[in-house]
Amino acid sequence: MSNLDSAFSALGDPTRRAILARLALGETTVMELARPFAMTQPAVSRHLKVLEAAGLIVRRAEGARRPARLAEPALDAIDQWLDMLRQALARNYDRLDQVLAGMKPENGGNPQ
């Protein structure tokens, strides 16, 4: 990843993360992107510009349309997201470990 800072900064916005998640499904036009997010096309275009500058997406010219797709580093970024989601879940389940350890056997627990 050429510029880690700008990539993470671009990923700091929830809409841009959602756009990347959508692009993970395949190349998409601005119009197609705008629809599920209930955003105007200029608003989507602004987000795409940030993502492109961060090296997370690439766009190609196809007449007036400029469909966007994920750049290779973005695939790594998505993997990072899943790792972060795992970490958030892991924190919950670590807490649950403590709760379970404190439960009495007659309550269905299994004291260690």
Partner: protein, 164 residues
């Protein structure tokens, strides 16, 4: 996407499956009855289902019968809050829970159908949570939204380049 475990959390897996599923597995050092109870008793749920640091769960309604309502509300000190609602569909004590849930952001997201099973695994329990979303796009958005809610703390750490 990915199907690898996080090295730091070897007991937890989170994988995408097909176009519409997300599967989470985790092993616990407690019997299935206890893990099941921790997933159904509101007072116990409120102790652990909290997400990132700084969030609490002031409201937890879990009406444990088929058709029973669920409502979970989270809040943080900055005054942010959000909630999910859902319905319990099937309950097999100590073994299995099927429910449907949606986030309110504030508009409700498409329903997420969740089957959670608790299987004996040695002295402990293997929990498997299998989520089914209406389509691939919805799943992608749910993962992104879940990240938004559940990952700020992790994200901040990642920006500090992962000293965990």
């Amino acid at each position: 996407m990915s199907s690898t475990q996080t090295p730091a959390n070897p007991r937890l897996t989170l994988t995408t499956e097909g176009d519409t599923h997300v599967v989470v597995t985790r092993r616990f050092n407690a019997k299935p009855e206890g893990v099941y109870r921790a997933h159904t008793d509101p007072q116990i749920i409120q102790k652990w289902l909290l997400g990132p640091e700084g969030w609490t769960m002031p409201v937890c309604i879990n009406d444990n019968r088929p058709g029973g309502k669920m409502r979970y509300e989270w809040a943080n000190a900055k005054g942010h809050s959000f909630f999910i609602t859902g319905e319990l569909l099937e309950l097999e004590p100590g073994r299995r829970i099927v429910h449907v849930e949606r986030m309110h952001l504030p508009d409700p997201t498409p329903d997420n159908l969740v089957e959670t099973t608790f299987e004996p695994d040695g002295d402990g329990t293997l929990m498997t949570m299998r989520m089914t979303l209406p389509n691939a796009e919805t799943r992608a958005q749910m993962l992104a939204t879940g990240m938004e809610r559940g990952m700020e703390a992790s994200y901040v750490r990642l920006e500090g380049l992962l000293p965990s």
